[in-house]
């Protein structure tokens, strides 16, 4: 891809994200069911949570490619980078959610099922990163962490999508409610979807940079001293 097209696409990303931020504050309505303008934090919190799931899913895909696609280390690096990004976006979602919880529910932490489930998933993937750091041999590390990432993907959708719909929660109804119907104002929905897509694209960019950085580090390690 030429440098001009590459820069142009990045400039477009800046513009689209800026438009989403503008939409969050001036296009979408503030939900009257919430305290003051606090519902606007959802245009950041929900896309961050969604993007963390995209990252974990991507990690599982790259892990599968490593295991059944020729054991290429670049797939393992991609999987690890995806988990790191997933943890980053998961932490950001937890922090923004806690800020909103302080306004709506009076406390940063309430042991709400949805709050708790995202932290459980964070611990799960934190263990993935701890597991990787404990193994020096690259191939053994890649094999074990690939299996772990695939198992994690069995668990993660349960915590992200099932638990909020089968438990009583302080959380607002999900965008797709228990009857699988859209339960949100159209303008809010438009900004939510646009933000979720834009954050996902941002994840792929950050992921690309992280994976390339790790490739450089591995290459430096392999250089004869």
């Amino acid at each position: 891809m030429t440098r001009t097209i590459s820069l142009g696409l990045r400039a477009l990303l800046w513009l689209v994200m800026s438009t989403c931020i503008w939409g969050a504050f001036f296009y979408a309505w503030s939900d009257p069911a919430f305290v003051g303008q606090s519902s606007r934090i959802l245009f950041f919190h929900v896309p961050m949570a969604w993007t963390s799931f995209v990252a974990y899913f991507a990690a599982a895909v790259w892990s599968a490619r490593y295991l059944w696609g020729g054991r290429q280390m670049r797939h393992d690096r991609a999987a690890a980078a995806a988990v790191e990004c997933g943890v980053l976006f998961g932490v950001l979602a937890t922090v923004t959610g806690s800020l909103w919880a302080r306004i709506e529910w009076g406390a940063y932490w309430n042991w709400d099922p949805r709050q708790t489930s995202i932290v459980v998933v964070l611990l799960f993937y934190g263990a993935y990163l701890a597991l990787r750091s404990a193994m020096a041999d690259r191939e053994i590390r890649a094999r074990i962490s690939s299996v772990y990432a695939l198992i994690a993907l069995v668990v993660t959708p349960f915590f992200y999508f099932i638990v909020p719909r089968i438990t009583e929660s302080l959380h607002p109804e999900p965008v797709l409610n228990k009857e699988a119907k859209l339960d949100v104002d159209p303008r809010m929905f438009q900004v939510l979807i646009a933000s979720a897509l834009t954050y996902s694209i941002l994840f792929f960019w950050i992921h690309n940079l992280r994976a390339r950085t790790q490739a450089l580090a591995d290459a430096r390690e392999d250089e004869p001293s």
Partner: protein, 41 residues
């Protein structure tokens, strides 16, 4: 919250996003430079 308040929060968010964007661009340029140096060896 008055509109003036929303305007300030919007501006702060935009500055944070622009700062992150420029940061990522600079990292990407540095990575590309290191990759090119690695290939040149």
């Amino acid at each position: 919250m008055e509109l003036g308040g929303l305007g300030w929060i919007f501006a702060v968010n935009l500055i944070i996003w622009t700062g992150l964007f420029v940061f990522l661009l600079r990292i990407e340029r540095r990575i590309a430079g290191l990759e090119a140096a690695g290939k040149g060896r």
